[in-house]
Each structure stands twice: as C-alpha cells, then as structure tokens.
C-alpha cells in the first residue's frame, strides 16, 4: 500500500512547517459536597492566566500519551488520585479567541468522583455550582466557566435517563443517598417509590445482604453498584419538580 513516493512524502513531512493550532485537554471533575454539585479547580502556576483559578488540563504529551483519553486520565490522576473514574468526553471547543497564545482547540472531558476519596493538594479546591451550572466563586481562566456550564448541562441531561449519579457515591450507599444525589444533580425533588422501582427494577444496584447503615432514624439497607456497564439507559426520562 505504501509506495516509495509516499514514504518520501512522510520522510519530508514536518509539522513545524505549518501554522497549526494549540491542542489541549481539559477536564471538569464533578462531585457532590454539602448537597451541591462541586467542581475541582486549582490555581495556575504558569502563564497565561498565572495565579488565576482554572480546571485541570494541559497539553497532550505526544511521547507519553497513546491517545487523548490517556491525557485526560493522567491529568485526573495527578489531581485526584483516581485511576478508574466515570469519564466521558464532552467534545472539542476550538477558536482563535479562547487562548492568548493563539488559535486553540481543547478537548473537554468530564469525570464524576466521590469527594470523600479525594485528597486536595494545596492550591486546589472544590467549588460549588449554582442551579444553572455557574461557578459561584471566582472567575476562571480561559473559557473554563463556559466549559463547566456545558459539562453540567450534559450531566443533568444524562441524569434524566441514565444511572450516572451512581458514580459520585462511595462503594456502599443507601437508596435515599442515591436519590438525594439525583435530586441535587437534577435540581428538583423525585418521587420516592417511583425512583426506587426504577432503580431496583433494572440490574443496576444490589442489596448488600445483612449490611445496613445507621441514619438519624431507622436503619437503612446498604446497596452497591451491580451490572458491568458504566451506565444503564432508560427508555424514559425521569421527572424532577
């Protein structure tokens, strides 16, 4: 397939001969803390936007990373220690405005983690989002506030027809805790028995026989995730009011 001419072409090909955009990976890391959706941000150490808050990310290391998902996982691991989180690509954003260094493309991922299992570095913090996915704290570097908002919209939308909220919980949890997570993400109340039917009917959680958790009132049955798939998809959206 590969002709002599083609080999010649590839030998002479040098990307540095062309005007190319910057290409980076950013990652919106979600968790739930104090009954709010939170996002992990850190204070930048380098130009541009030095000393501003931003979401984790950076350039693809074309020596070390085999693919872009690996770049995202590497960044996530650096900031949270997580190696197997829920991770989904949100999409690419690219234009000539978003980075002062020039034309820039970023591939954004979002991850769900359990806040209890993350140890924060210095200059790293959880920042709560309001009901529209706006970050309530400081203004962020680049277009990161916009990326967070888009990721939040995707998260909320997916919570309506999948089991995505499972991924912010620890290994063991009660159904009320799970419902609470859905309600926080969806921004409204869910019907209890409808929710429990929906969750227990599919093969998405299983009782941990004999284990229950002390709450403020009566004991609650503990569950764990079951099924192998990352997400279970429902035929209908759930209704939060």
């Amino acid at each position: 397939m590969s002709t002599k001419q083609e080999k010649e072409f590839l030998k002479n090909y040098n990307i540095h001969d062309y005007d190319v955009p910057l290409t980076s990976v950013d990652i919106v890391i979600f968790s739930i803390r104090n009954e709010q959706v939170n996002v992990l941000i850190f204070k930048r150490n380098d130009f541009p936007y030095k000393d501003n808050w931003a979401i984790p990310g950076g350039f693809i290391n074309i020596k070390r990373d085999k693919n872009i998902e690996q770049t995202a996982l590497r960044k996530l691991k650096e900031k949270t220690g997580y190696t197997a989180p829920y991770l989904e690509q949100l999409g690419a954003t690219g234009n000539n405005k978003r980075d002062p260094r020039g034309w820039s493309v970023t591939v954004t991922y979002f991850a769900l983690v359990n806040a209890e299992e993350v140890e924060l570095d210095e200059d790293t913090l959880w920042c709560p989002l309001d009901n529209d996915g706006h970050i309530t704290q400081s203004k962020l570097a680049f277009d990161h506030s916009e990326l967070i908002k888009e990721a939040f919209q995707r998260l909320r939308s997916k919570a309506q027809y999948t089991t995505i909220a499972l991924h912010v919980l620890p290994e063991k949890f009660t159904l009320s805790e799970l419902q609470k997570c859905f309600e926080i993400i969806l921004g409204g109340k869910l019907n209890k028995s409808g929710f429990r039917r929906r969750i227990t009917k599919g093969n998405v959680v299983e009782e941990i026989k004999g284990e229950s958790k002390q709450t403020t009132t009566r004991m609650a049955q503990l569950y764990r995730k079951s099924g192998n798939e990352e997400l279970h998809f429902y035929m209908r959206e759930i209704y939060a009011r």
Copy 2:
C-alpha cells in the same frame, strides 16, 4: 490583568518550539438514497492515502477559520454546496496510530443533507451503509470507517428520541416519506398511527394547506418543517422492530 511579565511570555511563545499533534476536522455527511443510509466519500488527491477513498476533512486554516465549526462548514460547502445543513459535533479522536504523519487529533462532525440537492464532483460518490453502519464499498483511509460507524450509531440513537430524520428530507414531504426515513435510519418498522401522533402532536411539522402529492395510490398531504429549533426532543424513545 495582563502583566508585563505575561506580555513578555506571550511575545516569546512559539508553538513551533513544542512537539504538538496534528489537528484536523473530518465530516461524515449522511443522506438517504434508494432506501439506504448513504455517506459521502471522495478519492484523495494527496498523500498520505493518496488515491484512497475518505470522508471530507482537512486541517484548520487558522487564518480563515474563526472556530472549528467554521472549518467543518467550509469543508461541507466545498463538497455539497450546503451552507445551512443539520450539523453536529460527534467528538474528538486522537492517538498516535491513526495518521502516518504522527500523533493526530481529529474533531469529527456529522451532517444530514438531502441527496437530491447535492451535485457530486468528480471523484466523489455516495456510498451506502449496512445495518451496522459499516460502509459496504471500499476500505477507507485512516480510521474513517470507524468514524462513520460511530456517527451512524449517534444518528440512529438520536432518531429514537428526536426529530433528526426531518433533515434528510426536501422542503416539502409527506408523513409516509418521513416515516420511511425514520425506518431506514432506525433499521426497523414503526407503527403508523403512533408515529403520526408523535409527529403531529409536537410543533414539528405543519400541513401545507391545499398542497398534496400524487403517490401510486391516493393523494398524500404535504407537510413542511415548523418550529424554530433544530431538533425536537421527546421524553420517550420510539420503538422500531
């Protein structure tokens, strides 16, 4: 905000000092012909994969393109003449294997067009897909077969809960023609009266008063798209068997 130090940094910043990936945009253009989903492919004129079939695409022109969607629209217009098609970003694919020139990231878009309104250039053709989204003709350059398959899965999935199939039809169409398009995309038969209720209930199509179309049997009412949104989203998926 912008300090002297930062200005200095930006002045000295040169992307050519770094090892960066190639970044391109590819576009999967769908239409329906002969009761099959088709994809537009063309014969490559340049290395690598010269003389192989591929989907349209290319590098971002950082002088002319303001953002990646513009790059995609530019490529689409070159091949089809369309300036306002249904266009959606599928996502980014990036790894060190897909392009012989080196580490490569591509942002894939997919578009829906009406085949009748496209004039094919030389070295350009419509190629039908089988029921799994596999291209039935030749092997394609790069990982383009894989990109097509992923785009087709997204298209089929969206046809289950949105009005996406509207975008492969001409301005005027009958409900039977619309149903046929959905069936082709979904790969199964739909229930007629259920389908008509679903379509006519939302504000997605409107009768063209007094206009009807001759079919092989009785006259059929003509409709046009209505509503301003690109897509209408339903709460439930439709069921094709």
